[in-house]
């Protein structure tokens, strides 16, 4: 058992937050593997999940390095993924929500891709070289994630009466979890500096333009859920971890 809950260093918190978002999104998307509505789309979503797990590994490796420099603790990408509890995780709540139907999955992926695309663009110019390198590498993948998920929002929003209804339902279910992405925590503000303004604006503009083209309405301002960034999660995260961490917990200290 390890914990990163009490770590104060904003850079470490930020890197863990990025890794956790990538890992939990990848986990949920990977649940579709073998169950997608169209074989080509099964492959596409599995590919996105694979990118996300890859991004998580990069961020965790960097976080492990930073933690070791700070307090000498020897951690790895796997100890960060497999040996922490839900209060240590800093992913946004939206990432951990169940997949629901294809419309909810697409909406989740679109919201997150639009955010990560602009975030990684900003980070690619960050003075922290390691972060900039990971972000630049991930940005190539995000280009595809954003195009793929935007295309699907259009297809569903402007497809059939049923698909439009399902997109509207997805928006109703998930909308209150969208703002957390751009409601920056202190540790994000410190690393992002002024670039956080443009990330917020670009994210909102992207969603508006795709929604407009798809004939979907952005809901009126209302209550927004948050907590993930400081380790207060929904009930779903515990089950994700139970599943994900089973082997590491049942057979401690084994090599796989």
């Amino acid at each position: 058992m390890i914990t990163t809950k009490d770590i104060d260093n904003p850079l470490i918190k930020f890197v863990l937050h990025l890794g956790d978002n990538a890992l939990i999104m990848g986990h949920r998307n990977s649940e579709w593997c073998g169950h997608g509505p169209i074989l080509e789309q099964d492959i596409a979503l599995t590919n996105i999940a694979l990118d996300q797990v890859g991004q998580a590994r990069n961020f965790y490796q960097y976080a492990a390095e930073l933690i070791s420099e700070t307090n000498g603790e020897q951690l790895t990408e796997d100890s960060l993924a497999y040996l922490r509890d839900s209060w240590d995780f800093k992913n946004c709540l939206l990432a951990e929500l169940p997949n629901g139907d294809w419309a909810q999955t697409i909406l989740k992926q679109f919201i997150v891709s639009a955010y990560q695309y602009h975030l990684y663009q900003a980070l690619a110019n960050n003075q922290n070289e390691q972060l900039a390198a990971i972000a630049s590498k991930s940005l190539k993948e995000l280009n595809y994630h954003l195009r793929w998920s935007s295309d699907w929002v259009l297809r569903l929003g402007d497809g059939t009466t049923e698909s439009k209804k399902r997109m509207e339902d997805a928006i109703a279910i998930l909308w209150s979890y969208t703002n957390e992405w751009i409601d920056f925590a202190d540790y994000e503000m410190i690393i992002l500096g002024d670039s956080h303004h443009s990330i917020q604006q670009d994210w909102k503009a992207k969603i508006k333009s795709v929604f407009d083209e798809a004939g979907l309405m952005i809901p009126v301002d209302g209550w927004m859920q948050k907590g993930g960034k400081v380790g207060n999660h929904t009930e779903h995260l515990g089950y994700i971890l139970t599943d994900m961490q089973f082997l590491q917990r049942a057979y401690p200290n084994a090599e796989w």
């Binding site: 890992l23 986990h27 990977s30 649940e31 593997c33 073998g34 169950h35 997608g36 509505p37 169209i38 074989l39 080509e40 789309q41 099964d42 492959i43 599995t46 590919n47 999940a49 694979l50 797990v53 890859g54 998580a56 590994r57 965790y60 990408e77 796997d78 993924a81 497999y82 139907d101 294809w102 259009l154 297809r155 569903l156 402007d158 497809g159 059939t160 049923e162 698909s163 399902r166 994700i240 599943d243 994900m244 089973f246 082997l247 590491q248 057979y251 084994a254 090599e255 796989w256």
Partner: protein, 321 residues
């Protein structure tokens, strides 16, 4: 003397020329290939399920990425194979329909459960290993699109087999529990893998004609023997045992002898009575049924885009003239 179409066809095959989709072919050749290629495609797609079980539970991020990539490869194989079958005049939807209605089969091996993490290694090493034995000769099969699809499939499968072996190798060098897990997986997968080559030659109804048409190049028993010989050697490196007391090297034949296969179990699983037949088909049907509205939306949207484009080009035309 004039030769019939059928004779010309057979001559072409005898001279090792590939048959291409537009060439004349006997109806039975076409039907046999549709059955075999679609069965193969279905096996790839249903085969995603037993391994898919362990994606969320993979014990390290590296193993998770390897497993995801592997299953994604299998979906890709399904795609090439469905495309190859489509060149014979059947649609992918029709093939899915045959799978969901139970008319088309898929490899029975995927009706066995994946109970521990070691099963991921055993599937890679043994199941993919057996599949490769069957598939390498198919790279030279007489129907061009099938042969070409198999070249790609085989390259990726042999990579999967090495990964599977490596994953078991790590377990075999690990803790006592991991060693037990490794042996248990081998014990459960060994006999079903031997059944993957199909019934013994004297009971196999499709073999003779398929050999003449060079769809098949080796008999079921010949391929099975090759597989036993290979695995009986490789398992020594793992320090594990195959669950067959009769397995021993036969110096005279230069092959391994092996015990009696339980063919009753094979026929039962084929009939639908295997441990996971129902789950596997239910999962495929559910994905298909629940995806219906998604596919409808995608076609409706594509249709709208197409109409808009036509309208726009008409407008351009009207403006110009």
């Amino acid at each position: 003397m004039e030769t019939s179409l059928e004779e010309q066809f057979q001559q072409k095959i005898d001279q090792e020329h590939k048959i291409e989709p537009k060439d004349w072919m006997p109806d039975k050749y076409r039907q046999t290939l549709i059955r075999q290629i679609s069965q193969h495609a279905h096996s790839e797609v249903v085969g995603m399920l037993p391994e898919g079980n362990w994606i969320t539970r993979a014990p390290s991020l590296r193993r998770k990425a390897i497993l995801l990539a592997k299953i994604q490869d299998e979906a890709g194989h399904g795609l090439y194979l469905y495309s190859a079958a489509e060149t014979l005049g059947i649609s992918r939807d029709e093939m899915y329909h045959q799978l969901h209605s139970g008319k088309a089969k898929y490899s029975s091996i995927f009706n066995y459960p994946t109970l521990t993490w070691a099963d991921m290694g055993a599937i890679g090493w043994l199941v993919d290993g057996a599949a490769i034995m069957n598939q390498v000769p198919l790279c030279r099969t007489s129907f061009g699109p099938y042969a070409r699809a198999m070249v790609r499939v085989c390259k990726e499968e042999s990579f999967h087999q090495r990964q599977g072996f490596e994953s078991l190798w790590v377990l075999s060098k690990g803790t006592d529990e991991q060693k037990r897990m490794c042996q248990d997986a081998i014990d459960r997968w060994w006999w079903p893998c031997l059944m993957m080559f199909g019934p013994p030659d004297d009971e196999s109804t499709n073999t003779i004609q398929s050999m003449q048409w060079k769809i098949k190049r080796f008999s079921n028993d010949a391929l099975r023997q090759k597989f036993v010989d290979m695995i009986a050697e490789q398992i020594k490196i793992l320090g594990m045992k195959l669950p067959d007391p009769d397995l021993k090297w036969n110096e005279e034949k230069k092959h391994y002898d092996y015990g009696k296969i339980n063919w009753d179990e094979f026929w039962q699983v084929l009939k639908g009575n295997g441990p996971c037949n129902k789950e596997r088909l239910d999962a495929r049907r559910k994905a298909w049924d629940e995806g219906a509205w998604v596919r409808e939306a995608a076609s409706a949207y594509a249709e709208k885009k197409h109409t808009n484009q036509l309208n726009n080009s008409n407008k351009v035309y009207e403006n110009v003239h």
